[in-house]
């Protein structure tokens, strides 16, 4: 099933490699910068969401402080790592002039990517569900004839 998931990507790679000398239009440096920015931003934003989740998880347990502090530290670590690495220079700085501009760009970029992911999931799930419900009704039991 994992192979089925990455199959379209592998096919495109295979076609690209077969018809041209290598992977056309693929710049390792730019792709790595994008990957690193996406990783840091996804980690930070996801940690923020989970921090909120933890707040409600604690409601049933007299809201303990320890896990909240732990998750808060993990989130701060993500923010600090993002700022630190962007501040290092061109490694994570894309077409933006400052750390703040790059950080804001990363967040908006992540929101757009996450929106695209949600749309793709919605379409795939919707088509799966409609394909299942459009078939004839099936019985859950096989009746034995007496």
């Amino acid at each position: 099933m994992v192979l089925a998931f990455i199959l379209p990507l592998l096919l495109i790679l295979a076609i690209d490699i077969s018809f041209s000398a290598g992977i056309q239009g693929f710049d390792t440096e730019i792709a790595f910068t994008r990957f690193a920015n996406a990783t840091l931003t996804a980690y930070t934003l996801c940690s923020l969401v989970l921090l909120g989740n933890l707040f409600f998880y604690g409601e049933s347990r007299n809201r303990p402080l320890a896990p909240l502090v732990g998750m808060f530290c993990a989130t701060i670590l993500g923010i600090a790592a993002t700022i630190f690495f962007i501040d290092q220079g061109p490694m994570l700085l894309e077409d933006n002039g400052s750390v703040r501009a790059q950080a804001i760009y990363n967040i908006v970029h992540m929101l757009v990517s996450a929106g695209a992911v949600l749309v793709a999931i919605g379409i795939s799930l919707g088509v799966t569900f409609s394909a299942i419900t459009s078939q004839k009704q099936r019985s859950n039991f096989t009746y034995e004839e007496e």
Partner: protein
């Protein structure tokens, strides 16, 4: 759709904060209030909040033109039509089929298919026709390059995954899995077309470049999210492990066991018929 901003005498940073970032945060807040509230007043408040946030984000290219982030609001306004058409269409097709509850009339099926086709053609027209989201004349919204390849590659992958999952886990689901293979094939075909056929504003070369960036983005999104979930699990695990063990009570004495046996024996049996 070209942008002609109107200017209000406000600092650019505050303008972006007030007219883009606060509405962006208000949208999930409104949704959360709507979903988690039990009384109708709060639900209405949540709905209104989410709607106001959504409208302000869509209007941000006009209200906060100095902020580059407002291009995301412009994209949202451009894609909301086809996406809503496709999703409502899928809903109509799904619930006009064999469902035990909430069944819609059979005629809704045709309407659903029509809506899906319209939404799909609209999206394809954004790449290969004049419908491309543009911030100014011939200036394509940069976030369209993020959105479109991501949707195509992930739809191809997810539907291929679902098709194999249906074949492996499901019983006699060949027809359904064929539909999913078709969706995967269609998305894949669009990807190949994008890589080889230029649109009026988007060249194949540019699409190719952004496809690989979309793959890098998806990989980063996956790794980052998994990392944060792992940290979350570790935090919970460490906290739960450090909790003192719950208080235990002594084992019942012989007298207590006898008393329980007496009570049980009274209730076992029943009247003879």
């Amino acid at each position: 759709m070209n942008i002609r901003p109107f200017h209000i005498g406000m600092d650019e940073m505050y303008q972006a904060l007030l007219l883009f970032w606060i509405p962006v945060s208000v949208m999930p807040l409104g949704l959360w209030i709507f979903l988690s509230s039990s009384d109708s007043k709060s639900k209405t408040f949540g709905k209104v909040l989410a709607f106001v946030g959504f409208t302000m984000v869509c209007l941000s290219p006009w209200t906060a033109p100095s902020s580059p982030s407002s291009a995301a609001g412009h994209l949202l306004g451009a894609i909301i039509g086809p996406i809503v058409l496709i999703l409502i269409g899928l809903y109509l097709v799904s619930f006009s089929g064999n469902v035990p509850v909430g069944k819609l009339p059979r005629s809704d099926r045709r309407l659903g298919v029509l809506m899906i086709l319209t939404g799909f053609i609209w999206l394809v027209g954004m790449h290969w026709w004049i419908l491309t989201p543009q911030l100014a004349k011939d200036d394509v919204n940069p976030y369209w390059y993020v959105f479109w390849p991501t949707v195509l590659i992930l739809t191809a992958s997810l539907s291929s995954f679902s098709a194999i999952a249906l074949l492996t886990i499901g019983v006699e689901r060949r027809k359904e899995s064929n539909s999913l293979f078709m969706l995967s094939g269609l998305s894949f075909l669009l990807l190949l077309l994008g890589l080889n056929v230029d649109g009026p504003l988007i060249t194949a070369e540019l699409f190719r470049e952004h496809l690989w960036l979309a793959v890098a983005d998806l990989a980063g999104l996956l790794v980052g999210s998994l990392l944060s979930i792992l940290v979350f699990a570790i935090v919970i695990f460490v906290y739960e492990r450090n909790l003192p063990p719950p208080l235990t009570i002594h084992a019942p004495s012989k007298e207590e066991l006898q008393q329980v046996a007496d009570v049980v024996s009274i209730h076992i049996g029943g009247e003879q018929e």
